[in-house]
């Protein structure tokens, strides 16, 4: 995993569950990375989605997290979509494989869940690094959503999606 030249011996990545006891760490990560103030209901839902919300440890320090939600469907049998609400890595820990580890974890579990048809998310149109990251993992860039992030200077976003092969 560590292809960018840090010492392999001191480069351990591990994923962990989110529970009420470490929720504070997740909040801290999201607050620092995303300029959005997530509501308490957001964090309540996070505790309910099981494998679709995770935090990542680098050398035993909590430094990254992903939170998804399942879109509700009109009928119980219809396939539903999985929305990646947040996926973020603290700045000093980027390009070390943590984002990939989290995304791969989500995709793996989404593929196992027969009811999930596709995984999608939004990225600011100007965030080229993120766009490249998701494209590398097989996401397709879809329509542009104007003013998706109303509070930001760059408020437009692209929708990206990955259809899961059943």
């Amino acid at each position: 995993m560590s292809s960018n030249g840090t010492r392999a011996s001191s480069h351990r990545i591990a994923l962990g569950d989110i529970n009420p006891n470490n929720l504070g760490q997740l909040k801290r990560i999201n607050t620092v990375i995303f300029p959005i103030n997530y509501q308490p209901s957001f964090y309540k839902d996070v505790l309910e989605v099981g494998e679709f919300a995770k935090i990542a440890y680098f050398n035993d320090v909590c430094v990254a997290a992903v939170c998804c939600r399942k879109d509700p469907t009109p009928e119980a049998t219809a396939p539903h979509d999985l929305y990646i609400a947040t996926l973020g890595v603290l700045a000093p820990y980027r390009r070390l494989g943590l984002g990939t580890a989290l995304l791969e974890h989500i995709l793996e579990h989404a593929a196992e869940d027969k009811k999930i048809g596709k995984v999608y998310l939004h990225v600011q149109t100007t965030n080229e690094e993120a766009l490249a990251f998701y494209k590398k993992h097989g996401f397709e860039q879809k329509e542009k959503v104007a003013n998706y992030y109303p509070n930001f200077d760059d408020s437009d976003a692209y929708r990206l999606e990955k259809v899961l092969v059943q």
């Binding site: 001191s10 006891n21 760490q25 990560i29 620092v32 320090v61 603290l90």
Partner: protein
């Protein structure tokens, strides 16, 4: 009257058996059956009381036993039962008296003699214990426990030769020495050997060790002892061989490594002196300091050990103590890099002792500041090798920043410390340790409220960590937020008991008692404060009491080396810092109660007029009443809840302590163990003075002053106390001439020659 008819006599024997088998209800029935026919049979009546005490009816128990005793004062059973009752209530002094009575009537009763000796040991009444043990031994010379008990008593009294004699006599009397490994026999022999070692003739001890070698199961103990004796006999090479073997088995055992160093004549307790900053060139001949040549040899030894045992932490850490100058920078550099790369949160704690040497402190500071710069620039610890090798993980910078913050905190450069901890938090805002250190820095900066807030942030990051939860509680108490502290503390107490704070008492959480007591003290709530300090006293009482069962158990199981270690520990128990702190606070509270019976001023009352103070106190009293009412309501609520166990606190305000008739006597009870165990602490005597001067015991006050004066004549508190003493002596009208003479005799010691004419 004592003699019962056949039928009842049998029944009485039966109830004695019932007691031994813990069949208390059955026994009680039997006793009542006898009493129906013979209501004044004392022994039965006493037994009835004994059964009651085991059925949780203490008051009736004493009543019946005393009644029984009145019917039959000449019965050893009645006295024995009375003793048992006191013993169960941990009133050992009274129990001892009852046993003495019982033995006067039946002097060879084995059961009573045995119980008697346990009490004597518990009360460290060695002379009497030895007498009892001799008696037991004469009655049953074949019983091992009596021999061993006697030897332990001699040993504890420091009569090693007699202890050895008893053990040897017993060993000689053994007909068949076990041929198979026998743990108990082996422990006895090792115990025998340890006394010889303490006695000081190392050749004798070594020869004995050789002679018992094949019977001993604890092989490692034999090797440790042999190495120790060989060292004392200057047989270094043989000792070295043993220590090398021991280090190989446990390369993280500091004692083994030290032993090895000693056997190579390369051991120096520390190469640093605390005064090294003031005197840069300490004489090279100082015995604790290694010469440059010796230092090189030690470092070479550790190089060798590190290669042999690359996983040993001790072998990496110990060279830091030894090395100085450039050599120190070299070994510290390697140690730091390894620890920061790996992410060792305790790194600073491991290092800070070295800061006693200011050169080392400076060297450490330079190293970590250089790391910081280089890691930021190149991602590597060493700027020079910047284009070779791999980059360090980002956590390396994180732990470096963390270290620097602690470094500046330790050296009390608060602004720098805060700047660095904020930098670390900006780097990785999820790490609990960072907020804890921030709290600590703020605490040292004298900002308890901000410190508490930082600690609470840390707590909220990891709610399942009991350690950080407790830290946070402590910081809340330091900020006098008692209600918040109680709420937070009870997040980790049992949920099924009526009063969750009682769980902290059950767990003997003394840090909590002390911190919360000190907070109540600051807020002028002396009752609550004293309640907490008495709680600590009670815990120490229980620790002392806990040893009781071991007087039998250890002798039976022959764990004698541990037993003696336990006895010695118990004897020193109340020198523990927690106890000393409780004494200090309790004495202060009680003295305050005497000086200001109307209640003392708290911080918020500073600068108030008398009228305002009165108003303030009334307000406080009202608040107390309200709290009391709320408490009663809660109690009713809990009483109605069947899922909650245990009782609520009967006296949460500690009124019992406020209402004491004799506050100074209570204070003295706290202090007494320190007078015995810690006569070399000046505080012992300073606190004693405060009590005695208020009790108008001028001679005892004088004695306290003399002892304090001998320990440190320049102590600031002592100076104030000397003034007060002189005033009190002057003001006292009716000092007895004999007392006056004693005071006059010592006046010059305390006040100097020219001050004689007071």
């Amino acid at each position: 009257m004592r003699e019962l008819p056949q039928k009842e006599a049998n029944l009485f024997k039966q109830i004695l058996k019932n007691y031994e088998l813990k069949q208390y209800k059955k026994g009680l029935k039997g006793a009542e059956q006898i009493l129906k026919k013979f209501p004044e049979h004392g022994e039965t009546m006493a037994m009835k009381g004994l059964f009651y005490s085991h059925l949780d009816k203490k008051e009736e128990a004493y009543e019946f036993v005393k009644k029984g005793l009145r019917y039959d004062l000449k019965s050893h059973i009645c006295w024995h039962v009375f003793g048992l009752l006191y013993r169960a209530d941990k009133n050992y002094e009274e129990a001892l008296k009852c046993y003495t009575q019982a033995l006067r009537i039946d002097k060879d009763n084995m059961q009573i003699l045995r119980d008697y000796s346990l009490l004597q040991m518990q009360l460290r009444n060695y002379e009497a214990y030895i007498e009892t043990r001799h008696q037991l031994l004469e009655l049953r010379p074949q019983n091992r426990m009596y021999w061993i008990g006697l030897a332990v008593a001699y040993h504890m009294m420091g009569k090693n030769d007699l202890a050895v004699k008893v053990l040897s006599a017993y060993e000689d009397s053994l007909k068949d020495i076990p041929t198979k490994p026998d743990y108990e026999h082996s422990e006895m022999l090792l115990y025998h050997n340890s006394i010889l070692g303490e006695a000081g003739d190392m050749q004798v001890a070594l020869d004995h060790l050789d002679s018992i070698d094949k019977h001993v199961c604890d092989r490692r103990a034999v090797r440790e002892k042999r190495a120790q004796y060989l060292m004392a006999l200057d047989r270094y090479e043989e000792a070295e061989a043993i220590y090398r073997g021991l280090v190989k088995e446990n390369p993280d055992n500091f004692a083994y490594i030290e032993g090895l160093q000693k056997s190579l004549k390369l051991y120096f307790p520390t190469t640093t002196t605390t005064s090294s900053s003031s005197s840069p060139s300490t004489p090279a001949s100082a015995p604790a300091t290694a010469t440059a040549q010796e230092q090189e040899k030690i470092l070479a030894l550790f190089d060798e050990l590190q290669k042999l045992y690359p996983r040993s932490n001790a072998c990496k850490r110990l060279p830091l103590r030894v090395a100085t100058g450039e050599a120190f920078v070299r070994v510290a550099d390697a140690y730091f890099q390894h620890s920061l790369r790996k992410g060792v949160p305790s790194l600073f704690v491991n290092i800070k002792k070295l800061y006693a040497d200011s050169d080392k402190e400076k060297a450490c500071e330079k190293l970590v500041l250089d790391y910081e710069a280089s890691l930021k620039e190149h991602g590597r610890f060493d700027a020079k090798s910047s284009d070779s090798g791999e980059k360090e993980p980002p956590t390396a910078l994180l732990w470096t920043l963390y270290y620097i913050a602690q470094h500046y905190d330790y050296t009390r450069q608060t602004d720098k410390a805060l700047a660095y901890i904020e930098r670390a938090i900006a780097h990785t805002p999820t790490l609990v340790e960072l907020y804890m250190t921030k709290g600590r820095i703020l605490k040292h900066a004298g900002k308890p409220k901000e410190a508490m807030e930082a600690m609470n942030e840390a707590r909220e990051l990891d709610l399942q960590d009991r350690f950080i939860n407790s830290k946070c509680v402590k910081y809340m108490l330091r900020a006098d937020k008692v209600a918040d502290a109680e709420k937070t503390a009870t997040l980790f107490t049992r949920v099924d008991i009526a009063d969750p704070l009682n769980d902290l008492v059950d767990m003997q959480a003394m840090w909590y008692s002390l911190e919360s007591g000190e907070s109540h003290m600051r807020q002028g709530q002396m009752g609550k404060a004293l309640k907490r300090f008495h709680q600590v006293e009670k815990h120490f009482f229980d620790f002392t009491d806990d040893q009781f069962d071991f007087h039998t158990y250890c002798l039976r199981k022959m764990t004698l080396r541990s037993y003696v270690a336990l006895l010695r520990l118990e004897d020193q128990l109340r020198t523990h810092p927690y106890y000393v702190r409780a004494v200090k606070n309790a004495v202060q509270c009680y003295v305050m109660m005497v000086d200001k019976p109307e209640g003392c001023d708290t911080k918020e009352m500073e600068g108030m007029t008398e009228a305002e103070k009165k108003k303030h106190r009334n307000k406080q009293r009202k608040a107390e009443l309200k709290a009391q009412k709320e408490y009663e309501e809660r109690r009713a609520q809990i009483a109605a809840d069947p899922t909650k166990k245990g009782k609520l606190d009967e006296d949460p305000e500690g009124m019992k302590f406020l209402k004491t008739e004799d506050p100074l006597g209570e204070a003295l009870k706290f202090l007494r163990p320190l007078q015995e165990l810690a006569p070399n602490r000046i505080e012992t005597h300073l606190w004693g003075f405060e009590i005695y001067i208020r009790k108008k015991k001028l001679l005892l006050a004088l004695r306290a002053l003399l002892k304090a004066h001998a320990l440190d004549a320049n102590n600031e508190t002592l100076k104030k106390q000397l003034l007060r003493f002189a005033e009190d002596v002057k003001a006292a009208k009716d000092i007895k001439p004999s007392v006056k003479a004693v005071i006059d005799n010592h006046w010059a010691t305390l006040y100097g020659k020219e001050a004689v004419g007071h």
